[in-house]
């Protein structure tokens, strides 16, 4: 390490003096120097001016719903981790902190980890599968129609026959779902028609986009962002807050698969369409309903499952009502029980989605100009490979956006090629709720008496 010169040592002391990090004696000494020497006083003032400049910089803030995105990603990240990785951290960033290692020296908080129960993986996997299916059922179909319409419009201009939507081009696989629960995975065919665009599209999501298939890396982040967009915007038509409902479920009810059956009856319809694969849940030869609890545990509070359910307000209320009236199930949080799930739809259904279609020169598009225009818009689901693979793409711009106007003014874009269309009628009127199901060892599903309450 280089030795400081006397001048540098004094300057460093002035820097520390500004921060109030000197002892009283050192501070007094610096103050004397500042009184005596003009050059040091000047340095002191310059450092203060630097500070003022830095503090004057704009303070960046995140969106109000950032924490919600983080939680969704975090829960997916937990889902995508094999149980064998529950030990020491493998991430460089964590290892560098030095706090994650088991040195045994410092007292640590060792509490149960979320999703530590094997059955929870199945439950959460089922929830993810259901969420993907439900999402695809609405905007996905729209996108296929939009794409087909777009192809036809492009073809009309080029004089060629439009190609059909390319959902079939991807090899189907359910590996992503097996990654959730290797031994008990429900395939997508078990929850939807196997040959429908819905299923093909879902396979595409599961194999290409799903963070469940890519535990980390840039691809995983991109996939996560993709899902965030879908979750928070397209998935539900409009951005909305997800209301969480906590339920306490008695072990007896959980083991009987009552909750699963209620959900299946109200939302997740399983159809028998593929002779080689799917059977109705609950049928004698089909997959049986899974129970929430896998076996005896020491602490009931350690067992919980998180499920996202999306549907119409009526469907959501029906599920909640069925759960509330189910013996052995209770909802302790009265505030959540009063939540009005129809409120987010009031605005969502009124807003019109204007679609502007532009014909862009291939060179212009491949040069990333459209991407550049959307740079200031966060979370635009524009995959890196989109310019090479797709003939067109939804940039998610609204009329009136600066980028939209620039697009309209672009020389290589034919803005008059096609009219704008209003697609508000296609906006899905769906709401999402989050169910947190906790297992309790009481017969009525009520919290145990205070004296018997398990401790952390």
């Amino acid at each position: 390490m280089n030795e400081l010169s006397p001048q540098e040592r004094i300057e460093e002391q002035i820097s520390a003096y500004l921060d109030g990090e000197l002892s009283a004696d050192e501070a007094a000494s610096v103050e004397q120097l500042l009184t005596d020497r003009d050059d040091l006083r000047r340095l002191h003032d310059e450092m203060l001016a630097v500070r003022a400049r830095l503090k004057a910089l704009y303070r960046h803030r995140l969106d109000a719903d950032f924490s919600e995105h983080v939680l969704r990603r975090a829960e997916r990240a937990v889902l995508s981790r094999p149980a064998s990785q529950a030990g020491p951290p493998a991430d460089e960033s964590i290892q560098k902190t030095g706090e994650a290692s088991d040195n045994g020296a410092a007292p640590s908080v060792r509490l149960p980890r979320p999703f530590s129960n094997a059955r929870s993986w199945l439950w959460a996997g089922l929830a993810v599968a259901a969420a993907v299916v439900l999402y695809v059922n609405q905007p996905g179909e729209d996108e296929l129609q939009d794409k087909t319409a777009g192809d036809q419009r492009l073809a009309a201009r080029s004089g060629k026959e439009a190609m059909p939507a390319q959902a079939d081009s991807l090899e189907p696989t359910d590996s992503a779902f097996k990654a959730i629960a290797p031994d008990e995975a429900l395939t997508i065919e078990q929850v939807a028609k196997p040959q429908s665009p819905l299923v093909r599209k879902t396979r595409k999501l599961a194999t290409v986009k799903s963070p469940l298939a890519k535990a980390g890396g840039a691809g995983g982040r991109q996939a996560d962002r993709f899902f965030e967009n879908r979750d928070s915007k397209k998935f539900s038509g409009e951005k909305q807050n997800v209301v969480q409902h906590d339920f306490l479920v008695s072990r007896q009810v959980a083991q009987a698969g009552v909750v699963e059956r209620l959900l299946a009856e109200n939302k997740i319809v399983m159809k028998k369409n593929d002779p080689g694969n799917a059977k109705p849940v609950g049928s004698a030869d089909g997959p049986q309903p899974r129970s929430l609890a896998g076996g005896p545990t020491k602490n009931a509070r350690q067992q919980f499952d998180v499920i996202y359910v999306e549907g119409s307000p009526q469907q959501v209320e029906a599920i909640l009502s069925a759960l509330r009236s189910q013996p052995g199930v209770s909802q302790p949080n009265a505030d959540a029980a009063k939540a009005d799930h129809t409120a987010p739809l009031a605005d969502a259904t009124k807003k019109a989605k204007l679609e502007s279609t532009f014909i862009a020169g291939r060179a212009w598009r491949d040069a990333g100009e459209a991407r550049l225009l959307t740079k200031n818009y966060r979370n635009r689901p524009i995959p890196e490979a989109a310019p090479q693979k797709k003939a067109d793409g939804d940039l998610g711009l609204k009329k009136g956006d600066r980028e939209h106007e620039e697009l309209a003014a672009g020389r290589q874009i034919d803005r008059d090629a096609l009219p704008e269309t209003v697609a508000s009628k296609d906006a899905p009127a769906l709401v999402t709720i989050k169910l947190v199901l906790r297992l309790v060892d009481t017969a009525n599903g009520k919290p145990p008496a205070p004296s018997a309450k398990p401790s952390d």
Binding site: E21, L62, R73, A74, A100
Partner: protein, 187 residues
């Protein structure tokens, strides 16, 4: 209001909304710091999100002998620095302004004043970006986040003496690069 330790215990017991409260509590300060560390608002958002996700996944390994934010910042800094080393950005005023977002200015100011304010902010951004990552990190934590030397030492995992010397050098370098701007301030 619950403290971080309580929220961590609740999150570990299965209440993910408690972790959401932790995120809400720390997100803006961490994000603002990382914007200046990585030099891009979008990249900073990714880094902060990754940091929170890693913190959630590894929450059971967090030891209560340090503050949660210290642990979180260390995760974020390591991710941010890894990101920078992968990216190796080139720096220009235009790019920095584009990436960190326009500097909001007072709408009541005259247009010429607003332009001037933005130009000066751009110069500060550029000067910050010219610093080495280790100098920039201590400066941002000290001047923008008002962290003490002890806290910076814990976050960056360097001795307090190193924090002190890096801060001094960072300030001198920034002063040299912003000489013209500072002369206006001091005159």
């Amino acid at each position: 209001m619950k403290d971080d330790a309580q929220l961590i215990c609740e999150a570990l017991a299965g209440d993910s909304s408690s972790f959401g409260e932790l995120v809400t509590r720390h997100q803006d300060r961490l994000y603002n710091t990382m914007v200046h560390v990585v030099g891009s608002a979008d990249d900073a958002r990714d880094v902060v999100q990754d940091a929170f996700v890693q913190a959630f996944v590894k929450l059971d390994t967090f030891k209560s002998n340090s503050a949660f934010y210290t642990w979180l910042y260390r995760i974020a800094f390591n991710l941010g620095i890894s990101h920078l080393r992968r990216k190796k950005p080139t720096v220009s005023i235009d790019k920095l302004q584009e990436d960190t977002g326009s500097e909001p200015t007072d709408a009541d100011d005259a247009p010429s004043d607003r332009i001037e304010q933005q130009e000066r902010a751009g110069q500060v951004h550029e000067a910050l970006a010219q610093l080495s990552e280790e100098h920039r990190s201590v400066l941002v934590l000290r001047e923008m986040e008002d962290r003490t030397y002890e806290e910076i030492s814990a976050i960056l995992d360097v001795p307090v003496g190193t924090v002190r010397s890096r801060l001094h050098r960072a300030r001198i370098q920034l002063r040299d690069q912003l000489k013209e701007v500072l002369q206006e301030d001091l005159s």
